[in-house]
Symmetry: C2
Subunit: 358 residues, 2 copies
């Protein structure tokens, strides 16, 4: 972001705006607060792709406007034979409420049992998976989540037609005491997001090679012709994206190409159009070996390893999660959430809409 | 492999050869059998990079020839407060013995508790991680392993100097009843293996761009000048490779650039030069939701999802693990293990060496 276009808003104003916007759409106060908290976390960490503006856009396309979410839905717990694993039916509840509860429950199970898993069926978009795992890593845990994305936009490696979601994976590790921030490995399994392709189209730019296929399944560098995204690293990204679809097959997902095809009319009761989530937390005591070279403590060992990786001429390397942490630091320094000028205009637009609608 | 260069050997001959070769190097019968089993699995699945020839090469470089392994070492179990997680000290035992035991123990824990984790310190190379997770997936489990590779050959994204291993990840899923084979997502986190670069050098070929850096940390396409591998997909592959180094930081690993620097002389007791392993098995009952669209069974749901991904013009897509499964099928048809002519010559050489040495 160019510095001259950085605009500040207070956290309080932003939280209230997000809360009001979702309450105004018929959601309950608690679930709207959970959404506001997620949007705040995204803004704090500079995740422009999954902030409040995106959240409302998703709700337009897949949520309250089309019957894709169920305001005030209660999450049901299905029976599970294992104390380490819970199975939830989110009943189309707003995603962040489910995500925050799930990562919390995983930590509780991990405290008792070393590891906790929550799988979630009939789940609506949880926006930024990184937020949930970061919350757990800040409290000292190893955390992981994957989910199926709402739309099938990615062609399998060697294929022509989009049949997988952009299916992200997010890991966060409790490195804050040593590095000052949690390591966060967090990305979608496509080369590029569809939103970025649309942005390049607006700017009259070409796509890099190997990013997208056209209607006929042929490679294209014309953003206007892009109909399918390609997975990153060929079969490697495809394999990672496929994992989410297969976890979904067990959890309760339906055909990827039908996911997100939500209107009340084409969504009879026996069909399923929503996502699945997988959350896992491991307690650090479950994997801390305790025997480190040179008699180091765990913290000293971790620091030495990271220094080794960033040594030998690698001092300019950015660790995963470092950019997000720097943005959070900048947010603290500035004393408010940072948006672009265009984003701020949209936020003001949302505010005006609320004045009118409320 | 060109068909005219395919050579067959019997499983029995190969197993005996592997067993004798390792016993001849001072290893015990049981651990040599575990190694032979691993080499057989690699050969069955067409994993030329981690077969018996590679195993002996690794033992030359890092094993019995230089004091890197401890023949007949006993694996110690460290105390753990959680019944879901065991912590082992492999004491430099031959890797496959440790890997086979670990995946077995993970399954036992998963049967009781839904999930089982074994982390392993002071671990020697386990060769092909895919073998262990495949074994668990064939028995109905979700299995995952990662490890630190013996040498630091990969530069971090944005860096110049190799400071991470090729650090593989391996997932296998119990899809055999539906697809005929387990899905296997299994690869290193570098763009290309160092062995492949050396092969291109022998053949006088250039490297593709973005695969390697030279001594000064600059990109090179000359295989003779390649000193560092690059991670796949830029920061994404780097993040995945870094995860293994950080898991290792907790488990008990030492500096990545010192790993594998094994000679008796430079390996005092307080130093640590070996790898770490992470194994995890999830019982399918821990994540099976049970509610599928159209009243499908789990198997029908899985089949429908895979058909959706391979439909719409994607029929030529190879699923992860499919090539390995086809090679295993070819092995069955031919009634023996398939090697190249050059590999068979090496195996005969190993056999002759044994005649002489035994």
């Amino acid at each position: 972001m160019r510095k001259d276009s950085m605009k500040l808003v207070t956290k309080e104003w932003h939280f209230q705006l997000a809360l009001n916007a979702f309450v105004n759409r018929g959601y309950g106060k608690a679930e709207s607060e959970d959404m506001a908290r997620l949007c705040e976390e995204a803004a704090v960490h500079g995740i422009h792709s999954h902030n409040l503006i995106k959240a409302l856009h998703l709700d337009d396309l897949f949520g309250s406007r089309v019957g894709g979410t169920r305001p005030n839905a209660e999450v049901l717990k299905r029976p599970s034979r294992f104390a380490t694993a819970e199975k939830w039916d989110a009943q189309a509840k707003l995603g962040p409420s489910v995500g925050w509860s799930a990562i919390e429950r995983c930590m509780e199970m991990a405290d008792k049992l070393g590891v906790g898993i929550v799988t979630i069926d009939n789940a609506w978009h949880y926006l930024w998976g990184g937020a949930y795992v970061l919350a757990a890593a800040r409290r000292g845990y190893f955390a992981y989540t994957n989910c199926t994305a709402m739309l099938a936009e990615v062609a399998p490696h060697g294929g022509k037609h989009p049949a997988l979601g952009t299916n992200p994976h997010s890991w966060a590790l409790p490195t804050e005491p040593v590095l000052g921030f949690p390591i966060l490995v967090d990305w979608a399994t496509s080369m590029m997001a569809m939103g970025r392709i649309q942005q390049l189209q607006r700017e009259g730019m070409e796509l890099p090679k190997g990013v997208a296929l056209d209607e006929q399944g042929e490679p294209t560098t014309d953003p206007a012709k892009a109909k399918a995204l390609l997975p990153f690293a060929r079969h490697k990204g495809f394999g990672l994206g496929l994992l989410n679809e297969l976890f979904a097959a067990w959890i309760g997902g339906n055909l990827p190409t039908q996911r997100g095809q939500i209107t009340r009319a084409i969504n009879p009761v026996q069909e399923k159009r929503l996502c699945t989530f997988f959350f896992q937390v491991i307690h650090p005591d479950a994997i801390t070996g305790g025997s480190y070279a040179q008699g180091r403590t765990l913290e000293e060992n971790l620091r030495s390893i990271v220094q080794d990786i960033k040594g030998h001429g690698n001092q300019d390397v950015l660790l995963p999660g470092e950019l997000e942490a720097r943005h959070a630091e900048l947010t603290r320094e500035k004393g408010g959430l940072i948006f672009t000028e265009a984003e701020l205009m949209e936020l003001r637009e949302i505010e005006r809409g609320l004045d009118y609608e409320l």
